[in-house]
Amino acid sequence: MVRKEYQTKLDELRDDVLYMSEVVAERLRLALDALEQQDGDLGEEVITGDAEVNELYLDLEQDCIDLIALQQPVAGDLRFIAASFKIITDLERIADLATNLGGYAGEAHQELYPDVDIQRIGDATLEMLETAMNAYREETAEACYAVSEMDDEVDELCEAASELVVRDLIQRDQLGSDEDIEGTMRDVSRLLLTIRDLERVGDHGVNIAARSLYMIENNDDLLY
């Protein structure tokens, strides 16, 4: 084995990206907990914790640039670095979305829609993220495709949830049964935003899988 230092740097980049993904998954988990428990303080913790993710993101971006500028990577190494460079952006965005969720946690006060299972959707997106990062770590193409299929389910869950909320809202309006219409509207819009943000977390999971697939076998099937 030659170019030892270069190989070490590649290994470090992989480890660091995986570490960042664990931090981001943890943020998302906390945000979901905060939502479930309507815990504003926990939500706030997710928001302030985002600085760490941003810092990680910028550090890793610089590491990728350094590797490209100084080591002139080619072939599989190049695809690995290019994929990592894109994946850290998706991870950073997921963390941003987690801060959104953290923000909603302290604001929702009513249990308007017990049938909308935010936790189920949240768990599904978390699983997507973990599967995608596994594909990146283990270099397994099948797992990348699996993430794409999981996203179809998440999309369906999100669509069904949004529809349920909107239908109910129309019904309420027709019945004129809501006394605190402004409060309801605020909660409903927060709920719809939560659903949309989770759906976007899933999209970023697919992006990660798509870049991993490109990395693994130069295959752009999952890139849109």
């Binding site: 002139q72 080619v74 072939a75 599989g76 190049l78 076998e217 130069n218």
Partner: protein, 298 residues
């Protein structure tokens, strides 16, 4: 990827048989990613009509040592083809076979064929000197003659008995070698007084003055500083509009920067992969090529 074919190793009985078994590499051997047998070369097939030089089963021994192992490939016209590989892989040997520079090495034993525009260049009636006017060469170290700049460029034309407007041809060659502006006022001074980078461009001017079709370059920039290297690299890109350029280089980044096609030779004188340069550097078919270009061995 669809234009890549396996070339089966023909167990070279090393006779330069003019009629090799017809189509020993059948087309249903198309390589798919991940299915590559790393011991089988992946050679993009350049159609006869587009290849200016074609070697078939080219094998070279220096004494007992095998320097090239049954190399079959077509070199496309008016493109830059880079030949890369570790030391001793046979890349310079291959280059030298293309204009019979190996004739000068007594111990070299060559079998197989090299065709230039369909003509076997090792046929008995071929004059190597005339061949080298069509297939010129630029060497690693700039080697201008101890003559004036003008005479360096005019040399090949004079030998050739050129009777046209010599001044115009010299100027054209120097212009094409991106040297004219720097030397036009000192054409009578010695070529040896130029800087290393200028000397190399003078050698390129000398090589293209007889209007060859192919320019072979053996590490043409390895003795030059980065600025002179950049000028030679720019020049190579310009040259490929008019000429077919085949360049041997140790510098993989240089190959990536300047070539359209890349040929990777690995130890034992085997051509392991030949194809578009972007394909080779982004997603080589052969694991051994991947390991070599990413620096895992070599």
């Amino acid at each position: 990827m669809s234009d890549s074919y396996h070339i089966q190793e023909t167990d070279a009985d090393s006779s330069s048989s003019p009629d090799p078994t017809p189509d020993d590499s059948s087309t249903d051997d198309t390589v798919r990613p991940g299915e590559t047998d790393d011991l089988v070369p992946t050679i993009e097939d350049v159609p006869e009509s587009q290849s200016v030089i074609r070697s078939e089963d080219l094998t070279v021994h220096y004494g007992d040592e095998q320097a090239l192992q049954s190399v079959t490939v077509g070199i496309p016209e008016r493109e830059v083809t880079a030949i890369i590989g570790p030391s001793g892989c046979g890349k310079s040997t291959y280059l030298r076979c293309l204009n019979r520079m190996n004739d000068m090495i007594d111990a070299a034993k060559i079998s197989g064929t090299v065709r230039f525009r369909g003509t076997d260049i090792y046929a008995e009636d071929i004059d190597p000197v005339a061949l080298r006017r069509k297939i010129g060469m630029v060497f690693q170290k700039p080697n201008p003659f101890p003559k004036s700049i003008y005479d360096n460029v005019a040399y090949g034309l004079k030998i050739q008995g050129f009777e046209g407007d010599m001044d115009a041809r010299v100027e054209e060659a120097l212009r094409n070698a991106a040297l004219w502006d720097e030397v036009k006022d000192q054409l009578d001074s010695s070529g040896l007084d130029l800087s290393g980078g200028q000397q190399q461009r003078l050698c390129i001017a000398r090589a293209i003055a007889p209007d060859p079709e192919v320019v072979l370059m053996d590490e043409p920039a390895s003795a030059l500083d980065p600025v002179a290297t950049a000028k030679v690299e720019d020049l190579i890109a310009d040259l490929s509009e008019q000429y077919t350029v085949i360049i041997v280089t140790h510098n993989m980044q240089q190959a990536a920067r300047i070539s359209d096609k890349t040929a990777v030779f690995l130890t034992g004188g085997q051509l392991v992969e030949f194809g578009n340069t972007d394909q080779i550097f982004e997603n080589p078919e052969n694991q051994r090529v991947e390991d070599y270009i990413t620096g895992k061995f070599g």
